[in-house]
């Protein structure tokens, strides 16, 4: 029989493949995280909508299922000192209705770089380099100012599709000084960048997968198309 890796595994490794020569370490983390890991350490205030039960899954013991791979930063930084270059692939959960573009269970890969010199220009180069590695060099980008509690400045990266429309690909930014300080580091000395990207979005853009629910369907007609 011909065996098949799941397309989520393939796309994860394709992204890691780009960052490996740049000295990135891949961290495999858990699904259950504390509210400190999911929110407090990421400068997400108490009244932020993301904390609400209509967004985040809470366990009866007060812990949460991670709503983003960024929830793994704190544990990783508790065991490390800068300079660090880290990747966090993994399963995330958000309490939302499922349809062709949303699922309550989905996959992301996050990156975190902290040192004394990495700047916004390095971030932009890394993001564009990663996308070009996935889709080829003939791609047009657009950057927009944005807002995330854990990055400052924050940006969003769009790419132009063959039909001419712009599609938002990912959010990113320079790590917010409050987050750097949370790790016990001097925010006037240490800086870096972070980004998070949904793997289902990348599968849609690179491979043309038209429905995110295929990924957890177990349908061999989907998985069998990939090697």
């Amino acid at each position: 029989m011909t065996g098949h890796l799941h397309p989520l595994t393939i796309v994860t490794e394709k992204i890691i493949e780009y960052f490996r020569p740049l000295g990135f370490e891949v961290v495999v983390g858990s699904d259950i995280v504390t509210t400190e890991e999911n929110f407090d350490s990421l400068n997400i205030p108490e009244n932020h909508p993301a904390r609400a039960e209509f967004d985040t899954f809470y366990l009866k013991d007060g812990r949460t299922l991670k709503a983003h791979s960024s929830a793994l930063y704190l544990e990783a930084m508790n065991d490390r000192t800068p300079p660090v270059r880290l990747l966090f692939p993994g399963r995330c959960y958000r309490n939302e209705a499922t349809d062709a573009t949303h699922n309550h269970t989905f996959y992301q890969i996050d990156a975190l770089v902290i040192d004394t010199e990495t700047n916004l220009g390095n971030l932009i180069s890394s993001l564009q380099g990663m996308i070009k590695h996935l889709v080829g060099n003939e791609v047009e980008f657009r950057l927009r100012n944005s807002y995330f509690p854990f990055t400052e400045p924050s940006i969003e990266l769009d790419m132009k599709l063959p039909g001419g429309q712009w599609l938002e690909i990912l959010g990113a930014g320079m790590v917010n000084p409050a987050v750097v300080e949370y790790y016990g580091l001097d925010p006037e000395k240490y800086q870096g960048f972070a980004f998070g990207v949904g793997l289902e979005r990348i599968l849609n853009v690179v491979s043309g997968v038209d429905d995110v629910r295929h990924n957890l369907s177990g349908d061999y007609r989907y998985i069998g198309q990939y090697k």
């Binding site: 393939i10 495999v28 700047n119 390095n122 400052e152 400045p153 000084p177 957890l216 989907y222 069998g224």
Partner: protein, 401 residues
């Protein structure tokens, strides 16, 4: 905040953008906006009070697009001065700005004192306290085109043992003919309960991968013989990464157990899944076996290959069941792959084909290969006459190919 384009026409002297252009330009300067009919929906973000007041939105728009002129003068007060380090801002952005460049912030309503190196934010801009906050405002004014792009320097490889072990194991299992599946964590029973489950019928986190793997079998009734695996977390109640393997229509249980034990570097034993569990999920396959072991118990012998993985182009999947055909030909495996490629050009119904078996006669050394073809129709199931026609066309094609 929903805004009509007429409001912008009434507030800006020389406004001539269409709705889409307005939405795009608002988003570009940090006010998330979508075009809706004859207006825009501006999303509120946690730190931007100016998104909530139309006058401040206009002020921001005209500040960052100098060709626009506001009709009304907007007055506002200012907050306490903030000390700014232009060196720190340059370090964050990767730029070479001078202290004089800070005066660009005046367009956004800031008061800038270049001698004291301080800025005062307008009262409608909260949360501006640090050099990083000022860097974000500078970025809005100077634009991304003026940020020098530079690559991260290459650094020596760093060991990622757990991830490499995970990927290596997946490749070994795939090389043994299994397919990887990914299934949901929620379950009808368990030891870890959710406070706000997605469904009241599944308020727990799973304690085993079995149900997910059984659902994978149920999803593929057209595969009589199926072997799949998943490596994912279970919650018993502690979270634990485990490897689960499900095999159906198993002929030689001992051989399969032995093969998997060698791959995983530890003894595994397949257990028969009870018929009532198969019936509950309407599973069509017979002789369904399963094992599950902690990932930490796996001892990989081989290291993962260097072969780079590629993402195929996805072909849409029909709502209707596929037609599968197994064909054995007196050809080698590479020749069989060529046949599959040729078939896919001739048969638009062909979703994909793959090798499922090969044999070499020990005496004659002649090879034969069996390929499985998955065919589908997007708008209905195949009728009997359509199936006969496909079989006939395929037979004719293979005779000539």
């Amino acid at each position: 905040m929903k805004l009509d384009i007429k409001q912008f026409i009434g507030a800006i002297e020389n406004f001539n953008w269409n709705v889409e252009e307005l939405a795009t330009n608002l988003s570009a300067i940090g006010h998330e906006a979508d075009a809706i009919n004859e207006g825009v929906e501006v999303s509120l973000t946690a730190n931007r009070k100016d998104c909530q007041e139309f006058d401040y939105l206009i002020f921001d728009l005209c500040a960052l697009y100098p060709e626009l002129k506001p009709i009304k003068t907007i007055s506002f007060s200012h907050q306490s001065p903030i000390n700014v380090s232009i060196e720190r801002i340059n370090q964050i952005l990767g730029t070479s700005l001078s202290i004089a460049d800070l005066t660009k912030l005046e367009r956004l309503g800031f008061i800038v004192d270049t001698e004291q190196s301080t800025v005062q934010a307008p009262d409608f801009r909260t949360g501006i306290n640090t050099n990083a906050d000022i860097a974000e405002e500078i970025l809005r004014v100077v634009g991304f085109a003026n940020i020098p792009i530079s690559n991260l320097n290459e650094q020596p490889a760093v060991s990622s043992d757990r991830y490499q072990k995970l990927l290596s194991l997946k490749r070994l299992l795939v090389n043994a003919g299994m397919f990887e599946t990914v299934t949901y964590s929620f379950a009808s029973s368990g030891k870890v309960e959710l406070k706000n489950p997605h469904s009241t019928q599944e308020p727990y986190l799973r304690t085993s991968l079995l149900e997910g793997l059984l659902k994978t079998a149920a999803k593929n009734p057209f595969l009589k013989k199926l072997t799949c695996f998943e490596i994912s977390s279970i919650f018993n109640p502690e979270e634990q990464l485990v490897v689960g393997v499900l095999a159906t229509n198993l002929k030689n249980l001992e051989a399969m157990s032995q093969e998997n034990s060698e791959i995983l570097g530890t003894r595994v034993e397949f257990k028969l899944v009870e018929q009532n569990q198969l019936d509950q999920l309407n599973i069509k396959q017979n002789k369904v076996y399963f094992f599950e072991i902690p990932f930490d118990n796996v001892s990989i012998k081989a290291i993962s290959e260097d072969t780079k993985l590629e993402l195929a182009k996805f072909k849409p999947i029909s709502k209707f069941p596929p037609l599968t055909r197994d064909i054995t030909l007196p050809i080698t495996e590479p020749e069989a792959l060529t046949v599959v490629n040729n078939l896919s050009r001739q048969f638009k119904e062909l979703l994909f084909g793959e090798i499922i078996d090969s044999y070499e006669n020990p005496e004659t050394k002649k090879e034969s290969t069996t390929i499985r073809l998955f065919l589908q129709k997007m708008n209905s199931s195949f009728t009997e006459s359509e199936i006969l026609a496909i079989d006939s066309r395929m037979s004719d094609f293979l005779k000539t190919d």
